[in-house]
Amino acid sequence: MGGEKKGLVLLDFWVSPFAQRCRIALAEKGLVYESLEQELLGDKSDLLLGSNPVHKKVPVLLHDGRAVCESLVILEYIEDAFPGAAPQLLPADPYARAQARFWADYVDKRVYSCGTRLWKLKGEGRAAARAEMLETLRTLDAELGDKAFFGGEALGFVDVTLIPLTSWFYSYEKQGGFSVEEECPRLAEWARRCGERESVAKVLTAPEEVHDFIGLLKKHYGLE
């Protein structure tokens, strides 16, 4: 089932911000991998279903045939399995690592699911999602503070976790009727700074394409 193929294979989906986290980390570390685009809205491949029987989702990182699932688990795996591949995305100090994991978890639990409610719901539901999204973005803006990156002077674990979601900000702004630039200027500046990196520029989906994709999903769910 393609199981014993040597090296790194990423089961991927073009617009998935979760898969993009892995692609950015791999690119930053100069690790060579093969990206296999998956069919998610139609029939899922045997490889995907066999590699991720529990969740049946992307991303999956296959390393010499063994599957690692869940984007943040994959990011930690890349750190552990390739200790020589600089840069280290997690700091060495246990307390700093705990802080990085905390904020990555915050991003992971809040941003995408709240954003989904923004475009799926109407009326009170959408208003609640809008309020939650603003609170989330403001909290992240405050945590970033005057640092160049969440990781400090260099890109880190939290940055990689959040960066792919910046492509979705345009859609959230349109649905929620707000401006990230106005509400969270530091976060907006950070997004631009990250976007200039080659590893990010090559991977991120253009905001307009994300917006079109959401339109597709709305039709798929019968919401238009």
Binding site: V54, L72, Y77, A98, T139
Partner: protein, 236 residues
């Protein structure tokens, strides 16, 4: 324990997430100050230590707070790496497997289980129950794979996944007392049923898990409060 280390756990006796941290500290042989929070009237220390979520557990180590139970478990493992057994193995792939199942327990077992008890409609509760049992079946398979014939998800020794799941034992037992249903049925999920007995025998489990009777009393009281609140809101 290591000299000069100040460990304070901000917690609530009934919370399995707090129990998780107590289990880890006990397994490592680390002493700590057990600070019981009144969740209806949270302390300044809790609110300033966890301003984002305002929840327990928070582990305060030499004055610095660490939040979120699974993150705290990894912190304890790393900050006290030389002391007591390791919760995570050294092999990168095995570490990934452990992290995967720890996340699964919270997302796919605990969340639906909470919905099963606290859902607003009968449909929500019923859906929660179905999802809970689906997750239990999945975890039986996970235990078979991870244990490799040994006694724990961590293999021969207790690991991250064992602690994550073991923290729920008092609540699993309480549910059995109140509903008559075993969530880890010995016929359907024999490995988990045996694991539950084995885990309960650990010194750390006896030290950290709350008394089942106390949990039953707490759960009944909370159900009554929810029912009363529902009646009141229906009468508005």
């Amino acid at each position: 324990m290591a000299g000069g280390e100040d460990l304070k756990l901000l917690g609530a006796w009934a919370s399995p997430f707090v129990t998780r941290v107590k289990l880890a500290l006990s397994l490592k042989g680390l002493s700590f100050e057990d600070v019981e929070e009144d969740l209806g009237n949270k302390s300044e220390l809790l609110l300033s230590s966890n301003p984002v979520h305002k929840k327990v557990p928070v582990l305060v180590h030499n004055g610095k707070p660490v939040c979120e139970s699974v993150i705290i478990l990894q912190y304890i493992d790393e900050a006290f790496a030389g002391i007591g057994p390791s919760l995570l193995p050294s092999d990168p792939y095995q570490r990934a497997v452990a992290r995967f199942w720890a996340a699964y327990i919270d997302d796919k077992l605990v969340a639906p289980w909470v919905q099963a008890t606290r859902g607003k409609t009968e449909e929500e509760k019923s859906e929660g129950i179905n999802q809970t049992f689906a997750a239990v079946e999945m975890l039986e398979g996970a235990l078979r794979e991870c244990s490799k014939g040994e006694g724990y998800f961590g293999g021969e020794t207790v690991g991250l996944v064992d602690v994550s799941l073991g923290s729920l034992l008092s609540w699993l037992n309480a549910t059995e007392v109140m509903s008559g249903t075993k969530i880890f049925d010995p016929v359907k999920t024999p490995l988990l049923a045996a694991w539950m007995d084995r885990f309960s025998e650990l010194d750390a489990a006896k030290a950290a898990l709350p008394e089942v009777d106390r949990v039953v009393e707490f759960a009944i009281k909370r159900q009554a409060q929810a029912a009363a609140a529902a009646v009141t809101s229906d009468n508005k």
